[in-house]
């Protein structure tokens, strides 16, 4: 398992590995929002938590395409399926490496981008906490979507359509926690619900992902 994680991280950081794709997208979206909305700092600080969460979600979605497709094309998935490692474990590792290369950088970059969107000072801790609790769910759900569409050429559109509805609860509670925090309220309730979603998906989704991947590998 560690070998797979090590390999995935090494591949992500080598040239053409796709590390930074999501981060760059996140950066572009949040930098462009003030230009399109206009220089009203009050409006910006109102929409900042939502924009940051939406940007993070779309950045995650953007990188899902490569999550399993590359391994499918070069035959690695066939070989992994016959390896002693259970497919459920392999897909959990894949989701973890996706989070480490996409979700975690987003969490770390969000405070800096919050500054550009005039996020309320109270909101930073809530924004970071909600993204840190929520982005793992995005990676795990995304792995499921990638497993569903892995055999389909140019399956990116289909995958987006399948995955987006599953992302909605995470987005609602994540953005709500960040919004309440930014308004100076206590965002504990949505944060706890968000953590519940994340823990639930981490526990259950790998089994669903492995089941559909076995179907698509046939």
């Amino acid at each position: 398992m560690i070998a797979l994680l090590h390999r995935d991280l090494m591949l992500a950081f080598r040239a053409g590995g796709g590390f930074g794709l999501g981060l760059a997208f996140f950066l572009i979206v949040t930098v462009l929002v003030p230009f399109s909305v206009g220089p009203q700092s009050e409006l910006l600080s109102t929409i900042a938590p939502g924009v940051l969460w939406l940007g993070a979600l779309l950045a995650c979605l953007l990188s899902l395409d490569r999550l399993l497709a590359l391994d499918y094309e070069d035959g690695t998935l066939d070989l992994l399926a016959t390896a002693p490692l259970p497919l459920e474990a392999a897909l959990s590792i894949k989701a973890l490496s996706h989070w480490l290369t996409t979700g975690l950088p987003l969490v770390l970059a969000a405070p800096i981008l919050g500054l550009m969107l005039n996020l309320e000072p109270d909101g930073y801790i809530w924004l970071i906490a909600s993204l840190a609790f929520g982005t793992p769910a995005l990676s795990v759900i995304g792995t499921f979507g990638a497993a569903l569409t892995v055999g389909i050429k140019r399956g990116g559109l289909l995958m987006s359509l399948l995955v987006l509805p599953l992302y909605v609860p995470t987005l609602i509670f994540g953005a709500e926690a960040a919004r309440q925090g930014a308004m100076g309220l206590d965002g504990t309730t949505p944060l706890i619900l968000l953590a519940g979603i994340t823990l639930g998906t981490i526990a259950l989704m790998p089994f669903a992902s492995a089941a559909v991947l076995r179907m698509t590998l046939r």
Partner: protein
């Protein structure tokens, strides 16, 4: 332990391609699968490797014992030869890649990125992967594609050594590998009917 296939029927895309296939591979022996293109050799091998379910029949002795090598080698272009091989060795719980590198003369290439290898060199690396799995049954689908004569000899030597150590091999190929092996022609087992059975998702429901 012997690989036993009994009255096996396999399907590709829901269409039965082979029926009533039975054979045995005992330790230290190998079996060469023959048949024209599209006869169902790949489907049969994938079924035995556990990548797809059989329509009917039994496969015994195939649990956690098979190292499968298909048309794709599962190599990462941005990892070096040694890194690719080490990864697969670790997945199968081994660490020593030196014998495999030596058997396919990959030592001079060990620090080259796999993406810069020629097709034949990639194939040699893909076949070297079998040696680091430590699995007794090798299931190989046209292993000699894009190999030159010398590399085919390396491959034959590796298979012979594997058999000598009590291993087994099931190989689909069109060329003569110079192995002392039985041949199994799949042509007589081809399904006559094109009846679509097994096309539904019963297994999933």
């Amino acid at each position: 332990m012997t690989l036993r296939v009994n009255d096996l029927a396999v399907a590709r895309g829901g269409v039965p391609v082979l029926n009533g296939v039975s054979f045995e591979v005992a330790p230290g022996t190998s079996l060469i699968l023959r048949g024209p293109n599209g006869a169902g050799k790949t489907t049969l091998l994938r079924t035995i490797a556990g990548l797809q379910p059989a329509l009917s029949g039994q496969i015994d002795g195939a649990d956690e014992t098979i190292a499968y090598a298909g048309h794709a080698d599962g190599l990462k272009a941005m990892l070096s030869v040694a890194e690719n091989l080490t990864f697969w060795a670790q997945v199968f719980g081994n660490s020593d890649i030196e014998p495999a590198l030596a058997a396919y003369q990959l030592d001079p290439l060990r620090d080259r990125l796999a993406g810069t290898l020629s097709a034949g060199q990639k194939r040699r690396l893909g076949l070297a992967r079998l040696m680091v799995t430590g699995r007794p049954i090798w299931v190989l689908d046209e292993p000699t594609v894009s190999l030159d004569a010398d590399a085919v000899a390396m491959f034959a030597a590796a298979v012979t050594a594997h058999l000598g150590a009590g291993g087994m091999a099931l190989i689909a190929t069109h060329i003569d590998l110079g192995l002392n092996a039985d041949t199994f022609d799949v042509t007589p087992y081809r399904s006559k009917s094109d009846m679509r059975s097994g096309a539904s998702d019963e297994a999933f429901l």
